[in-house]
Amino acid sequence: MQIFEYNGSAVVAMVGKNCFAIASDRRLGVQLQTIATDFQRISKIHDRVFIGLSGLATDVQTLYQRLVFRHKLYQLREERDMKPETFASLVSAILYEKRFGPYLCQPVIAGLGEDDKPFICTMDSIGAKELAKDFVVSGTASESLYGACEAMYKPDMEAEELFETISQALLSSVDRDCLSGWGGHVYVVTPTEIKERILKGRMD
């Protein structure tokens, strides 16, 4: 039994023109049994930084709570929101603190940095950051996601086209993975608004 495949998950983030999209599946399973179809894997840290966590669901929730805690204190002390690059460095440091007993999650971080430039990155469960200019993926469906994104992605897409692309990439990839799926949850973030949409996919 693989621990990273216990609950099942799929998370993907893509860069567009002055915007980004981050999407995840909605299934929460216990190995082959589906327990919930509305599990929240993507969370907002602040209006311009989102984090999606794949992997063991309990660590997803705990890690999210710890990160929100750290960010709230940062906001109070420094009287400003964290930049996405800074937040990614913080997540990496927190994961490495548990180097020999890690959180079993792979985060995907997406945000709008200075001058509304979109930023995405992913890291492994002990904090090795991987920056990308186009898309990042994580979860049990990651191999299918890599293929789908590589095929469907093009640079400088506007928000609506980016939504279509990321949704198609997510749905087609989770269809090839029995542990993830049961719908999709997509956030498209531009400097002026955050659009949250639920996708209806194959419910199996």
Binding site: R77, E78, K83, E85, T86, S89, L90, A93
Partner: protein
């Protein structure tokens, strides 16, 4: 040890509500060599007297103005060894922040953490407060900033300030001379004139130290040659 009522802590409140050791620490600061800082529209300058106990001392080895980070510098009035300890701690805190967030520490955060250290030494057993007041000059995303930190741990942001022996004359002089739209070079001239006010003896590049930071966000201590140039301009 002793059986005095206050022997368990040097920082017990007196009946008048004061912490007597902090008052004494401020006195130590007040008898230290004058230092001052001025915040200009495009930078900050800090300066201090560098009176050495004898002409035999190698003045190039004495550095009263120090870097805390590439874009934050600090000067003090009071006890030099206490200053060295604080500089060491502050540099470590700045670097820990940088390692965690991969971002240079904002000036206000570093000042707050340094002030917290100084406050801890007013509320711990077996220690005494630091006998220095610091003037921290930095330039970050919020622009040029100048902060004073006292032995009690309180800190203030200043447009211009002075500390040490000649503090009241220096502050009066600064109040008259300070303007909001002063530029960095004007501020350096004003700093030199302020130091000159209470200076015993002949002012020269060997007995003052000046540090500045501009919009380039790089804190630098001026060389004696550069100080000589500014002194010549002031004459």
């Amino acid at each position: 040890m002793g059986d005095s009522q206050y022997s368990f802590s040097l920082t017990t409140f007196s009946p008048s509500g004061k912490l007597v050791q902090i008052e004494h620490a401020l006195t130590a600061v007040g008898s230290g060599q004058t230092s001052l800082g001025i915040k200009a529209s495009n930078g900050v300058v800090i300066a201090t007297e560098k009176k050495l106990p004898s002409i035999l001392v190698d003045e190039a080895s004495v550095q009263k103005i120090q870097h805390l980070t590439p874009n934050i510098g600090v000067v003090y009035s009071g006890m030099g060894p206490d200053f060295r300890v604080l500089v060491r701690k502050s540099r470590k805190q700045a670097e820990q922040y940088n390692r965690l967030y991969k971002e240079p520490i904002p000036v206000t955060q570093l000042v707050r953490e340094t002030a917290t250290v100084m406050q801890e030494f007013t509320q711990s057993g077996g220690v005494r407060p630091f006998g220095v007041s610091l003037l921290v000059a930095g330039y970050d995303d919020k622009g040029p900033q100048l902060y004073q930190v006292d032995p009690s741990g309180s800190y203030f942001s200043w447009k211009a300030s002075a500390m040490g022996k000649n503090v009241s004359n220096a502050k009066t002089f600064l109040e008259k001379r300070y303007t909001e739209d002063m530029e960095l070079d004007d501020a350096i001239h004003t700093a030199i004139l302020t130091l000159k006010e209470g200076f015993e003896g002949e002012i020269s590049s060997k007995n003052i130290e000046i540090g500045k930071i501009g919009a380039d966000k790089v804190f630098r201590v001026l060389t004696p040659a550069e100080i000589d140039d500014y002194l010549a301009e002031v004459e």
